[in-house]
């Protein structure tokens, strides 16, 4: 079997939320009580808007990985995260519908430790033949104000498509190690991590467990430490990755950089995010070791193939980093993350109780954003209806699927509404015209005000439409984001 037919990674994608909190803003806000936090006041951390969670970020990372490739080769979706919004409702199932993957797909939520991302990838690599598996890892961890986690963590998602044909990186082997090493934990019903001393995590955790695992990987695969081209050790504690690298004996220049100044430690998604970043710049033949740490360790070895340059994610990691906007408003960060309760007024008392029966009848339409195309007139509309909206021909029962999630569209009209209750005001909404003829009244999100104008191109993003706090329910739909140019 040639290298290109071996099991490995076929594509990768990434998603980092647009908003990045300047760490200095948080450190300054806490300065009165915790002046030591100034030591962490460097760079910015990514954080989710109110309408994002691990599912929406994961979907966006997967869309990035799919780009324009055929999705029908995928027959399994693993979603890895310690911050899945639902405990009993398939989170991967929601993502698979949003991605409009076949209903026959195998779906699996993988959680329980920060190793979930690498473990999901490893499981996919061991089981994906002959069809492809989409592995998505996403994390949006809540952090207690003034904790060092608040400054170190970041929200992000990454995805890889694992398969056995035309891979860009061949899977060469893996080693795992299980240890009930509790440097932090979060129990059922707990909002925040409980964290033990970081020096212990460094000395007894990273510096011992990771080298032990990687050495076994070397032994099993016959790879010498000096042959490693890129070593990925995802960790937010300073100097630890360097220490691990030295302990293993890889070349100093092989150590892959972190994304702490741009994003922060994205938990279960972080190893895959860093891997995607390395794949984005890898050359054929390069050997990449990626480590995942959480109650033990996973270490996986990949070798880039001649196809490495052929994978073009829609956006990729570098551009996901670049699209960030720095937020210096620490109270906004707290409010959007539910760490502070603002008085939003009586308008916020209204909750839209989603009828689950209605939602199920329309689940594919709403989650995958499928409109209808009249087979007689070609009129495209959303939502589908029994009678066509075509002004002249009201054909009955003629509509077939018309996917809108990736369809080009422009702004017809918009406003910035300060009256409606909206967790991240103002509330931007308006009419969106798709090139295929569909017109939809939509919410806008991730709005760059300078780009929002009549006729401006917009792209669709998968987001929370309704967050029913009273019933702890989430309803998802698509929103429009103004983009700089037609993509």
């Amino acid at each position: 079997m040639g290298m290109a037919d071996a099991v490995g990674i076929k594509a990768f994608g990434a998603y980092i939320p647009r908003m990045r909190l300047k760490r200095a803003a948080a450190a300054t806000a806490h300065g009165w009580a915790f002046p030591a936090l100034q030591g962490l006041a460097k760079g910015a951390r990514a954080f989710t808007d109110w309408d994002e969670d691990s599912i929406t970020m994961g979907v966006e990372a997967a869309r990035d990985a799919f780009a324009s490739r055929d999705r029908s080769q995928v027959d399994a979706l693993f979603l890895a995260s310690t911050t899945l919004p639902f405990i009993d409702r398939s989170n991967a199932g929601i993502a698979s519908l949003a991605l409009d993957l076949p209903q026959t797909l195998r779906t699996l939520d993988i959680t329980g430790s920060l190793r979930a991302g690498t473990s999901a990838m490893l499981t996919a690599l061991c089981t994906s033949k002959p069809r492809d598996t989409l592995v998505v890892a996403a994390e949006a961890r809540k952090t207690k104000p003034a904790s060092s986690q608040e400054l170190r963590y970041g929200d992000a998602a990454a995805a890889v498509i694992v398969g056995s044909k035309d891979v860009i990186a061949v899977f060469r082997g893996a080693a795992s190690l299980n240890a009930d090493f509790v440097d932090h934990y979060r129990a059922e019903g707990q909002k925040h991590d409980y964290v033990w001393e970081e020096r212990w995590a460094r000395d007894e955790g990273y510096l011992k467990l990771v080298p032990a695992t990687v050495r076994r990987l070397f032994a099993d695969t016959g790879l010498a430490a000096t042959e490693v081209d890129r070593l990925i050790v995802p960790v937010a504690l300073p100097g630890v990755a360097e220490g691990v690298s030295r302990a293993i004996g890889v070349r100093a220049e092989a150590l892959a950089p972190q994304l702490l100044d741009e994003c922060g430690d994205a938990g279960a998604a972080y190893p895959i995010l860093l891997l995607a970043r390395e794949l984005e710049r890898a050359r054929p033949g390069q050997k990449i070791v990626v480590v995942g740490v959480g109650n033990g360790c996973d270490a996986l070895l990949f070798e880039a193939t001649g196809h490495i340059g052929s994978c073009n994610p829609r956006r990729g990691v570098d551009r996901a980093i670049k699209r960030g906007v720095e937020i210096g408003d620490y109270l906004k960060f707290l409010a959007l993350r539910d760490e502070i309760e603002l008085d939003w007024g009586m308008r916020s008392e209204f909750t839209n109780k989603i009828a689950l029966t209605t939602e199920y009848r329309h689940s594919r339409e709403m989650l995958a954003f499928i409109g209808g195309r009249c087979t007689r007139t070609g009129t495209v509309q959303f939502p589908k209806s029994r009678v066509s909206v075509n002004p002249e021909v009201h054909a009955v029962d003629t509509q077939v699927d018309a996917p809108l999630a990736d369809a080009p569209a422009r702004v017809v009209s918009f406003t910035a509404d300060w009256l409606s209750y909206y967790p991240n005001p103002p509330f931007y909404f308006g009419l969106v015209q798709f090139e295929n003829g569909a017109r939809v009244s939509m919410e806008f999100t991730d709005v760059d005000r300078s780009l929002l104008r009549i006729g401006a191109p917009v792209s669709m993003v998968f987001r929370l439409k309704e967050l029913d706090r009273r019933r702890a329910y989430r309803h998802y739909f698509w929103k429009a984001t103004p983009v700089a140019s037609d993509q």
Partner: protein
């Protein structure tokens, strides 16, 4: 046209009626109306109640009206058509009389909005399927979108448009200050309007109508019966037209977001019904749905009073001011009355009725023959539009 005459009308004071229930508002409007009509309550053979917002209002069905007025075992129907509800109620009563189903009918619209605890309209569900995907924007948010689109299409710089919109509101405040039944009786300056806090870009506070409590009603009959009661100067219904969106504007690509398709259709039909060829010259007064300043502005074009793209100039020229060529919102409009949804359409008809009869006090215009009312429910992209034309019998 001229098949139905208005026998009497009544209108409560509009405002923050903290002391009043919906029942009080209904009785207040009805007592005035009954006295004006000069008939006994028992002569009313059928009634229509219009109110739009259930949860904080009077409750379901026709019972609130039948009970408040103690209407004795007559058919009473409840109608709801968003902000066109008041006109819808009148339409029910007028059609019943025109059809000969009864001789005398009552239409009453009422809304008690100031029990919500907050400003603006109450937030409601849009229906379970729509709730899955439609944005929950505020009313100003939906109408604000007209401004950007209008400005872009007609190449009216936003600054100029804002100034014209400010003039719309300024003029209504001037008028409202002279109306004892108006909610807001305060003059404002153009500068105040332009510098007010933003509600929905580009609509500021004074670009938005108020929210208030109120009721208005009409008793209608045939001109012959009205004469038999000794009425000399008759005001008749010349036209009542209602148009509802079928989704063309919001779901297909044929509408550009700068005008109200249904207002145009309802107006065209109403003019035809009333035999009006040149509305700009034939109408004496107008009471239009000025929920927001920009709505009134584009409505001037949608009613074929201003040429397309020409409303800004007409507004700034003072054509719609009290002393202008065609006074609009001579009573103060929604701007100063607020918008108790179910009552507004009938409140507009009430002003036209007073103007035609010469009973509008210091607001009275000279030689008022024919007036128009216009009601609009929903959003520019998805709405119910109503146009009514009222005037002197035979005019």
């Amino acid at each position: 046209m001229d098949k139905v005459a208005i026998l009497g009308m009544g209108c409560s004071a509009f405002g923050e009626r903290w002391e009043a229930d919906a029942e009080d508002l209904m009785v207040e409007a009805f007592q005035e109306c009954l006295a004006d009509a000069g008939i006994e309550k028992d002569a009313i053979q059928a009634a229509w109640l219009g109110c739009a917002v259930d949860p904080i209002n009077v409750g379901n069905s026709a019972l609130p009206l039948a009970t408040a007025l103690r209407l004795q075992s007559i058919p009473v129907s409840r109608v709801e058509n968003m902000c066109a509800t008041g006109t819808e109620a009148l339409r029910g009563a007028a059609y019943a009389v025109a059809a000969g189903a009864c001789d005398i009918a009552l239409a009453l619209g009422v809304e008690k909005l100031k029990d919500t605890g907050y400003g603006g309209l109450p937030i409601r569900t849009k229906g379970l399927v729509n709730d899955l995907w439609m944005p929950y924007g505020s009313a100003p948010g939906t109408f604000a979108q007209l401004a950007e689109a209008y400005s872009a299409k007609h190449r009216v710089p936003m600054e100029d448009l804002k100034r014209a919109m400010a003039h719309v509101s300024w003029k209504s405040h001037e008028n409202g200050a002279r109306n004892p039944k108006a909610h807001i009786r305060k003059r404002v300056t153009i500068d105040q309007i332009l510098n007010a806090p933003m509600i929905s870009e580009p609509l500021g506070l004074f670009d938005c109508c108020g929210v208030s409590d109120g009721a208005a009603c009409a008793i209608v009959t045939t001109p012959e019966i009205a004469r038999s009661f000794g009425k000399q100067d008759l005001v008749t219904i010349k036209a009542l037209q209602i148009c509802a969106s079928n989704g063309i504007e919001s779901q297909s690509s044929s509408w550009d977001g700068t005008y109200l398709m249904n207002t145009r259709k309802a107006a065209a039909r109403a003019y035809q019904e009333a035999g009006i060829g040149k509305p700009r010259h034939e109408l004496s007064v107008m009471e239009v749905h000025d929920c927001f300043s920009v709505t009134e502005l584009v409505t001037m074009e949608d009613l074929f009073v201003s040429p397309e793209g020409g409303a800004t100039r007409d507004v700034l020229d003072g054509f719609f001011d009290a002393e202008g060529g065609l006074p609009c919102q001579i009573d103060g409009g929604l701007k100063c009355f607020g918008h108790p949804i179910g009552a507004s359409g009938l409140r507009m008809a009430y002003e036209v009725y007073l103007q035609v009869l010469g009973r509008a006090g210091e607001r009275q215009r000279k030689n008022v023959r024919v007036g128009l009312t216009h009601n609009l429910g929903g959003t520019p992209a998805h709405n119910v539009a109503a146009v009514g034309i009222f005037g002197r019998y035979g005019a």
